[in-house]
């Protein structure tokens, strides 16, 4: 044998012929472009171009595969690395990337950026897309029972005189939407009892307004302003979009965490969800303002009403008339109250911020 430098490149391995599970201890030697295998009852010489070597995976053995299904299991990582260098072998770029921390951190940054972008923009866009393709029957199905539930637990029949209710309902029915879009809604008056001055919208177009809200309004136009805002929620399908976003987030989180419990997975979901209706409120305000302007009513009416609602609910601090059903109803009192507490995770923007926005809309 000649004493070429590559003779030093010898390592121990176990050989499996692919036909039996018998392990054969062998030595592997690189001679030029030939891998020489020698063992007790086996010997073979192969062109390295025909062989494949598995990528490094920590302490796991690396496998040199022969085209006939045989393979060698190599645990001498340093020896194999030396041998591979001598052949000029270069790892796949993915392998080089995934073994280095610097690249791993870059991958963390890329992943976080994509996930954040997906959550911040992709998710709302997707749920908007889906929500506007939902047939009305589905909306009705999802909202069904909610009003009955609220009537049972939260509301009493309206104490307002029938002519007063009719006058408000007719005035609102006469109003046109700024974009001339036909809107289907049903208006309900209720005694809010403990929830006080309040209004809410369900995905199927059910709008509920409490006697207390009508009473604190200084002008009918203020009531119409709140109704226009609620119609904004219906028109933009906010309830449905919240529901779809919530389902998607819950699905992804529980799938990701997996092992523990899908109930526990709901916890972070709630936190992640809180942010959304902020945009929805501003959107509904904008819709309301545009609709009011189109009907010759100043958007300031909505701003005034927001201020009154906040004041009315700040007065009763320990009030908590919120009863979450499976459909998140958008309630005015809720926004005012939470907004005034100061909010990063609050689901509604501070009333002042909304009032400022409405003033600009004028």
């Amino acid at each position: 044998m000649s004493t070429s430098p590559s003779d030093a490149l010898t390592l121990n391995a176990q050989y499996f012929d692919g036909r039996s599970a018998k392990a054969r201890p062998v030595t592997l030697t690189l001679r030029g472009v030939t891998l020489v295998l020698r063992g007790e009852s086996v010997a073979r010489e192969d062109d390295i171009a025909t062989l494949r070597v598995s990528e490094p995976m920590g302490a796991a053995p690396r496998l040199i595969s022969y085209p006939d299904g045989a393979h060698c299991e190599v645990r001498d990582h340093a020896g194999l690395a030396r041998m591979l260098r001598a052949t000029g072998f270069r790892d796949d770029w993915v392998v080089r990337v995934q073994t280095r921390w610097r690249w791993a951190l870059a991958a963390v940054a890329v992943t976080v950026a994509i996930v954040f972008a997906g959550y911040r923009w992709g998710l709302p866009a997707a749920s908007e897309f889906i929500a506007f393709r939902m047939p009305d029957s589905v909306l009705a199905q999802l909202s069904g029972g909610t009003l009955e539930f609220l009537d049972k637990h939260l509301f009493k029949p309206s104490q307002l005189p029938e002519p007063r209710r009719k006058a408000l309902a007719d005035a609102f029915a006469r109003m046109l939407t700024h974009d001339r879009s036909p809107l289907r809604y049903t208006l309900h008056f209720r005694d809010g009892v403990a929830v006080g001055a309040n209004a809410m919208a369900l995905p199927d177009g059910t709008i509920i307004i409490t006697d207390q809200l009508v009473k604190i309004a200084a002008h009918d136009e203020e009531v119409l302003a709140v109704l226009a805002h609620e119609l904004g929620h219906v028109s933009r399908r906010h309830g449905m979009r919240m529901l779809i976003q919530g389902s998607i987030v819950a699905f992804v989180v529980s799938w990701y965490i997996g092992d523990v419990s899908s109930i526990a997975a709901g916890l972070p979901t709630l936190l992640l969800q809180a942010r959304y209706s902020r945009e929805h409120e501003l959107e509904a305000d904008a819709f309301g303002a545009a609709m009011l302007t189109a009907n010759g009513i100043s958007p300031k009416r909505l701003a005034d009403m927001l201020a009154k609602l906040e004041a009315s609910h700040r007065a009763k601090v320990d009030e908590s008339g919120k009863d979450k059903d499976h459909i998140p109803p958008q309630t005015e009192s809720d926004k005012a109250r939470r907004g005034s507490i100061g909010d990063y995770l609050a689901s509604h923007p501070a009333t002042r911020e909304r009032i400022e926005a409405l003033k600009k809309a004028q």
Binding site: G18, A60, V193, A264
Partner: protein, 359 residues
Amino acid sequence: MDDPSGVTQRVGAAPSPFEFTGTGSEYFRIWIVNLALTLITLGIYSASAKVRRLQYFYRNTSLLGNSFDYHGDPMAILKGRLIGVGLLMLYNGAAYWSMALAVTVFLLLIAVMPWLIQRSITFKLFNSSYRGLRLRFNGSVGDAYNVFLGWPVLVVMTFGLLLPLAHQRIKAYQHNHSAYGTAPFNFSADVGSFYVVYFKLLGMILAPVFLIGVTAASYGLFAAMGSGERDPVKLIQNMMQFFVLLAVLYLGLFLIIGPWYAARTQNLVWNHTALGAHRFSSRVRARDLLILYVTNFILIVLTLGLFKPFADIRLARYRLTHMALQPQGNLDEFFAHEQQAVNALGEETANIFDVDISF
């Protein structure tokens, strides 16, 4: 010259534990790089990522000093993923348009599911190897319909009474139709032992439910209803608090029951599975799993998900290192004589694919 047989038996009877050499920090880098590539390629790379992920786990698992290997072809996995995603989209799309269509698609999905599961098991085993020999699965499609469709239907019809029986049938189907080389796996757990696990499970669920019920009756509901509380909001608040309490208690209950069930079923299944004459043993403890689950969950939440690969490694290490092969006689001898079955690489490779949409 043979040893006296008794000596050979005793020498050979020392259990050979599974060893696991994977580490969280290595796997984290593989996981995050492949996750980023998957996201950048809109999921297409996920098939390659899955192969790499499984290879990391397989190759870091050893028995008798030799590692396992995974051979799945990313293209076959991608094909299966497209089928999976397609079916999911078909189902969800149908639900938006009409209920009748959704029901039709749902029934269609149920009808093809056993076949897809059979294909998946075949794919998984065929692509798993040890010492150069592939595992094999020869369970028939007909039997797959029996265990994955027939039995579940019976379970529903008997209000869950046959659930342990169905579970036993599924495991028997999987483990009795697997083979390594020419040596078959066999499964010996009887239906009774499954019923024992499920009865204990039922007891663990019912006892606290009974306790909660008694507590609720004496404290929660009566306090809320009978206190003469007139303010409906207060009443609702009280009831909400009560339901939150219930939910928390239930969460705690499932946190304990989940690991207990996982530990018991893994032990039951593997302690009654043998490869040829050699039995497997599994010594997983519920309380260890509980600690693992809870700490993994807390760390995953605190790290916003980045702990996930570490959690996967911890769980795999625990599960694998508590399993062993109990040899009857000399395992090296056994493996030395194990031959690749004829036709193992035959036509069946052409039409198997993996069906799952996990990443």
